[in-house]
Symmetry: C2
Subunit: 266 residues, 2 copies
């Protein structure tokens, strides 16, 4: 990759360093970061050193660096991630209690579905979602729900390129996908039978903001042998309504005065 | 606050903008950020604009900005936060199934305990922890476990200043706290009876890395009426051992080739 630092702002270079980390590259050397970001090694090294000093990155015993707890702590204020997750969690635990399989919460990020939260039983059916992971919009339960409610421009641009198949039943034909999306908007749920794996069925519904906008998708994934996966639709719809209600009226956060922050203790 | 930008590196100014966000300040105007960071308003404005363009910050309908999903996604690669949480979650769900109250996972961050994960029943006893929130080391179950295994230098420096009381039973006397810490190291657990609230008892144990280093604390919080809170110690010890084992041998992440990332689809 060509070096990108000439003419690039310092902030852009910092972003390039941070964006070198992803789910498959959580621990990197400064040289790895230089290669993945396209920055010269001395530049990558200098930025990494400063980010380690700030705590946003941490250095392990093996001298590789990874994203630090301080970075995660700032990220925990993100309303579309942990804020939404906090409102959703009690309802997700209720759903998980009913299905005992997988319960997932997704938001749209770019042209993919990002898994914000996931509850799984240890003996549950095969499922490839993980928290912080991205999933294709056309093949996954959450992805299809989000695509159904996305801008028409995004839908058309997404459907204009060749779509990958992950299992025998993955929908890849744009006409079929448009029918699925229309069904989601008309009926308020989707049932994905073997779209990602022949063994699993997903059932998903949209989650709306108090203003009525679709802001997330909520889904359960169960084994294909389950007699009536559609029986989960009503539980999903109730959970989704509960999340919207919680976002509208967050429970009071009573706490002893000064319990957070406790900076004065230090 | 005096303006800090003179002589400060661009990276330091970016960090100052990001650090303006915390659990009580999740949504800010550029002027709020300037005030909280000590940066001149035009500087704060310029950095915010660039961070919004990158997706690390997002702008809401009300023109306030908050931490973006893209930022959270990078944070999700942090091994000490979501990596640890992924290993711990199945064991935390087992514990939560037994107690039906609160189950919490903490790491040491600076001179405080940071809550990395929390499971709570909706009708559980009062508890002030929240994911991404910080708790004082001397008053909370997780904090005491982490302090007991911290560097002696940190322990002594922490105990050298006046400690705040949150409830009648909060330990604030350094000699008493040193005894509690020695007990944790000798017995492998702590029982905190009414340290934060008169109604709640916490029981906590350390979580070790596969190399034997204490990297986290795991705790349950139950109502004081529970007859034998100590009966949870064995379940906590088993869960902690399970987390260490999982960190040592993470389950294989089988997935269809190319399922993540799906960038080629876009």
């Amino acid at each position: 990759m060509a070096h990108r630092s000439a003419g690039q702002s310092v902030l852009a270079r910092v972003l390039a360093v941070l964006e070198a980390f992803d789910q498959d590259h959580g621990s990197l050397t400064a040289s790895d970061i230089a290669r993945r970001s396209g920055l010269p090694i001395p530049t990558a090294h200098r930025i990494v050193t400063e980010l380690v000093e700030s705590g946003l990155l941490e250095r392990g015993d093996d001298h590789r660096v990874h994203v630090g707890v301080r970075f995660w702590e700032i990220a925990a204020t993100a309303p579309r991630a942990l804020g939404l997750r906090e409102a959703a969690m009690p309802f997700m635990e209720d759903l998980q209690g009913i299905t005992g399989q997988h319960t997932q919460l997704y938001v749209l990020e770019g042209r993919e579905a990002l898994v914000i939260e996931k509850l799984s039983a240890r003996d549950a059916v095969v499922n490839f979602g993980r928290v912080g992971g991205r999933q294709p919009l056309h093949a996954t339960t959450g992805g299809l729900v989000l695509l159904a409610h996305a801008d028409v421009a995004l839908q058309e641009s997404f459907l204009s390129v060749s779509l990958r198949s992950y299992a025998e039943n993955t929908p890849t034909d744009p006409t079929l996908i448009r029918q699925i999306l229309a069904g989601i908007r008309a009926h308020g749920y989707v049932l994905c039978d073997g779209y990602v794996s022949a063994e699993a069925v997903g059932v998903g519904v949209p989650v709306r903001s108090p203003q009525g906008e679709v802001i997330a998708a909520l889904a359960v994934v169960v084994p294909r042998e389950v007699a009536h996966p559609l029986s989960y639709v009503s539980a999903l719809v109730m959970a989704s309504a509960g999340i919207t209600r919680t976002l509208d009226r967050p429970p009071p956060r009573s706490r002893p005065p000064g319990f957070f922050p406790v900076a004065e203790i230090g």
